[in-house]
Subunit: 255 residues, 2 copies
């Protein structure tokens, strides 16, 4: 059995009246945190949540995240003005129309359309969060860093930063984004969590050599082999698509 | 379903003929790694694996790690010259004789004796490793850092560094030790693992302010409230009990 209730954190919260912030480093660790009444930030830097905020920033009506390819195709047929998208191994999945690259969704193409997107790691985490009784699910990545931070400060609720990882393993790019959020908002939260301390320390160390450091990660090696370096560079660039995608009734909308 | 086989890692291994090294950040992530024929290093810096190497360094005949208090008491009655030990919330568990502090086991006391030790996080991980078909289980912590590294280099097998964490959550002190090992041995292994990259980066950043940084961790706050600062300082001091505890038939022995 695992500890969900953290008396230390609860005591701190009572004493200083600040909401708590925790970081779940992979979906396999999300169940260790009490998500009830919290805002959960789904983080999938390479590339789902970077693509989601970019599409919404460029005027997409909504993004519908779905778990499987068949669901994605079926949903695409139902919705007028929708496009289906998803990748495996750097290529558009057979039966879908577009890939998982933010560069595919400029305003001239995506404005007013509905993007039905299937992803592996991010969608899994999103559905886990929804089943937990959380207050709200939003998505975060470097392109909407400031928008996410501003939203968390405005709402003043408990927060869990949920990293999507890679097939349940820890990954660096999601952790670095969690660290970037923590650095911006930490004065306004009670943070008593080694994952958050590590994330902030890693971001602090690598914020000035982010693009160089990120090239050492496993995900970079995996995706750059498909010629996706420009995509990856975009995905670690802060504040170029500053909207907050919020999940409501099966859809992600720009707040 | 999770990915156990990593084609990239396998390819690297074939190409450069070096064994692989991975880091499992908590017991909840251990199943993601293929432990078969690997050396698993169990890491529980605060304080189980620090106490284990200290007792063996000071001449204990063996250490028997057991999962529960009842097992510990029963085992203590069976073995002549044994002492039972275990703590909860910084106090000796009722029914046991000693605690989980390395300071309790100087040579004058422990030499020739069998230490039957019950711990929470470390023992759990050890039993998980044993069930995985691994080649060998050893324990590591700062007091036996160099001995562990020398052993890994000598054996030249695949390695998984297993952090015990805290009730399945990530913790910093075990990760920092993993990073210290990686820094010493990395030239001799194929390391393609974000957890290892992070652990090494964190160690590299904090190796010179380890004692100051470690005081920010959740475990430090928990244990220092019981007046255990000296213990914790000991547990992050490298190479003061340089033996390799190796698990054989239910017992940890000095190699």
């Amino acid at each position: 059995m695992v500890l969900r209730f953290n008396p230390w954190s609860y005591l701190c919260q009572l004493m200083n009246n600040k909401p708590t912030l925790f970081t779940a480093l992979t979906p396999a660790l999300l169940h260790l945190y009490d998500l009830k009444d919290s805002i959960v930030v789904i983080i999938d830097v390479f590339r789902a949540t970077s693509t989601i905020c970019t599409a919404l920033y460029n005027g997409a009506a909504k993004v519908i995240p779905v778990a499987g390819v068949e669901n994605c195709i079926a949903m695409g047929k139902q919705i007028v003005g929708s496009i289906t998208a998803g990748e495996r191994d750097g290529k558009v999945i057979e039966g879908l129309q577009y890939g998982n690259s933010p560069a595919e969704y400029p305003r001239s193409f995506i404005q007013g359309k509905t993007l039905v997107l299937t992803t592996t790691n991010g969608t899994k985490l999103l559905h886990m969060a929804l089943e937990s009784g959380c207050s709200e699910v939003i998505t975060g990545s470097f392109p909407n860093l400031s928008a996410v931070c501003a939203h968390l400060l405005k709402e003043n609720k408990n927060v869990v930063l949920g990293c999507s990882g890679w097939k349940d393993r820890f990954n660096l790019e999601d952790t670095l984004f969690a660290g970037a959020v923590i650095r911006e908002v930490k004065e306004h939260f009670t943070i008593h969590c080694d994952s958050s301390l590590m994330a902030e320390s890693m971001y602090d160390r690598h914020k000035d050599d982010m693009f160089e450091f990120i090239q050492k990660t496993t995900h970079w090696h995996r995706l750059s082999a498909y010629g996706l370096e420009k995509d990856l560079q975009y995905c670690v660039t802060p504040d170029i698509a500053n909207v907050v995608p919020i999940y409501r009734d099966g859809e992600l909308l720009a707040l």
